[in-house]
Symmetry: C3
Subunit: 321 residues, 3 copies
């Protein structure tokens, strides 16, 4: 999330009633999670395990729950609950305004684009030329859609990220302030859900085609010319490179990469980064040929059991001699 | 399903043209399936396997397909097809009335609650304070929603139970007369489906969060502060206790319990009750560490085969001496 | 896709600037993919592997990328890119017209049928008597629905087939010109998606019941009185015979047959044709009892490893003597 106008570190820290360390006149230009933060921006860290990562990140300001010395080129904001401060900074900058009409007057819709009945379009949505948005699609605020994009009925673009912090007794929802960006010539099937980024962008590259009932989590980046078959579930913060081919009902865990041109066979469960140009299968997914062999080998266990029984008997006999 | 006014046993039996046994003046207060029936209510049983369970249940009246002696404290209604009688009693008490406007005039919507465009709200729906119901959500009749609930676009709350009886040639649909009840601070993602109870209630406890494309079957009770990730499918009559954590694409079979704080890893298939406080994986789901070990052990089968071949050759040689 | 008026082979070939071989006066009555093409119709073939199949099919005209002799009773259209010619013939005959009202004036809706608020009904849709179409359902053009059909909220009937051709740099979408046909007494749950046929028909037989979030691909034919539980994904061109029983989250690969009365247990992945009257489980799916035994046998691998270790030690000792 970029700030509309930058905030001075000293002013922001005062507003938040937090101590800080660094350059009081530093101009903060935005706020983002650690995996997407840029120079000039704030991020947060609330676990010693990630202190080094946060301090080595591109972030110019780190909200941290321990009083440490400020490394050169960084600025620190101190608070016992960095998540709550991070959340507060965002909440002060966003506010949900109810829509009074299905298509928000701020929406920009390109020439030749057809919006079928029952479509909802939120604030600041930009849709390119010659698109076809089918009946009863819902597009949340700040979504950007390219040219010649087709979106089928009952699909939801830009719903909130599923991003909660466990507190002792309950889960605290983090406000979603990111966006969705969809390239040119993309087709999205019926009943799909593509969530907004938490603070950054969820994106689908040019020419990529999604079948029905596909789920795309927050901040996931799908490359160009990928094929994603029906009922695939992609978690948040996944990077899928160009020309990937993902078959039906595959599930992909968060924060990993699917390499260029990788093929993932149906119902596989991906829990680790996969190199490009190869074919994968199984749950957890591995090299598809190896996995197929493994599955076939399971059938041989009963026979193996019998053979080992036999060997044991033979040896027993020998020893009995 | 509670009756608006109680029915006398003798009067009801006469309306249904059924013989009965028990107290003719017994006042029946409602009707429910065997797993949720209370004192004062009717249930039915149509298989000898379940006679004992039905007669030992809390039900005050049992519709049964065999003329047996009436146990003390119970009442019996006799019919060769108890399901059809059970169904008739319910059908006589419900009727579908088409909605003429998207938001039924009987709906009660709390202060501060925002209903976005394209939302459908059926008869007798009650929604609490400060909720946000996103565009194109459909909420069927008799649903009760707490305060500060968020429901994302294209989600359906309260559709009919998937509950059919196999007849010789076709399936007979049972009319759904139950409800859905959603607690405070619940969030339900986009494209979810939560079915009504058959005769009772489907419920989601305070603070529970559902990601996108989650399915919750009829009469399932999800506790408080649970997390249910995207594309999870939960059958009917499931009990999920507080603080359960269910990852993406998990499937849960009907009529079982997930204990408090249980963690179910992605793509698992749960076919049995699982104790609380532990982690589960696989299809069928078991202890996650054991299952992981099992999956790793599969890779060793080819090597095992070779080793057993070798052993057999050695012994063959020995015996040949 | 049937042509409204037949096309003469010579005239059509001239329009397409293609050479042809056969009877110039042959009247072409329609166009269809190879697996559903009938006498009188055109199909295409663009891979030597399928030449024989195409020439042996019922098609009267085959668009082919090799100059071969015309077999008796057939006609050939020659082009280096048969897919593009096939596509062009269809595109010339269909055109998307935006809907100006949620229910197209051409829709025919039977007596006693209730259409709830927010439903979209496209051009030339026919719905029978006493149906109940719940809020926010979307029904695309040319869909035919029988009597007493129930469709729950946020379901999409008749979206485009997921049918793309890989070109060197991108995927080319094939225009969907087929239809959907739904029999009598069918129930379709909430959040389902049923795609149109590519050139032919996707169909669901009388009395079949689909639970929530089921996906049915293009040109798939589901028989009568089948049960399909929640979150099942059925690819394109699948044939499911009567009385099949498919449990939750099953995935079914394209172009195969599920025999009459087959039972497929939850989360199974079907990659081959399955005979009727039997029960299946697993991914890939096999005989359910065998698969269950296999899964149990996996637990015995660690013990097997120990036993083989022991045998090897014993033999080592013997040989050391």
């Amino acid at each position: 999330m970029k700030f509309i106008t930058p905030s001075r570190l000293s002013v922001l820290a005062k507003q938040l009633s937090c101590e800080f360390s660094g350059d009081p006149d530093f101009n903060i230009t935005g706020i983002n999670e650690i995996h997407v933060v840029s120079h000039g921006e704030i991020t947060f860290v609330d676990h010693p395990k990630y202190y080094d990562k946060a301090l080595a990140s591109a972030a110019s300001v780190v909200i941290i729950d321990k009083k440490i010395d400020c490394p050169p080129g960084k600025n620190l904001i101190f608070h016992s609950d960095p998540f709550s401060i991070f959340k507060k900074i965002i909440e002060d900058r966003i506010s949900f305004k109810p829509s009074v009409s299905p298509i928000h007057p701020s929406a920009k819709i390109g020439e030749g684009t057809v919006i079928q009945p029952g479509v909802f379009i939120g604030e600041n949505v930009v849709i390119g030329k010659d698109c076809l948005i089918h009946a009863n699609v819902a597009i949340y605020q700040n979504t950007k859609i390219g040219d010649r994009v087709i979106i089928h009925s009952n699909t939801t673009i830009g719903a909130d990220a599923f991003y909660m912090k466990r507190r002792p007794d309950a889960y605290e929802k983090f406000p979603t302030c990111g966006t969705v960006s969809i390239g040119d010539d993309v087709e999205i099937g019926a009943g799909c859900t593509v969530d907004r980024g938490v603070t950054d962008e969820t994106s689908i590259g040019d020419g990529t085609k999604l079948d029905n009932q596909v789920h795309v989590g927050h901040d996931t980046k799908i490359g160009k010319h990928c094929i994603v078959a029906a009922q695939v579930g992609i978690s948040g913060i996944v990077r899928i490179e160009d020309y990937a081919l993902i078959w039906g009902q595959v599930g992909i865990d968060r924060d990993l990469t699917i390499g260029k041109g990788a093929v993932i066979l149906a119902q596989s469960g991906v829990s680790k980064t996969l190199a490009g140009g190869k074919s994968y299968f199984g749950s957890p997914a591995g090299d598809s040929k190896e996995r197929m062999k493994e599955y076939v080998s399971i059938k041989k266990i009963p026979e193996l059991l019998k053979r080992v029984d036999e060997l044991e008997k033979l040896l027993e006999k020998q020893r009995g001699k």
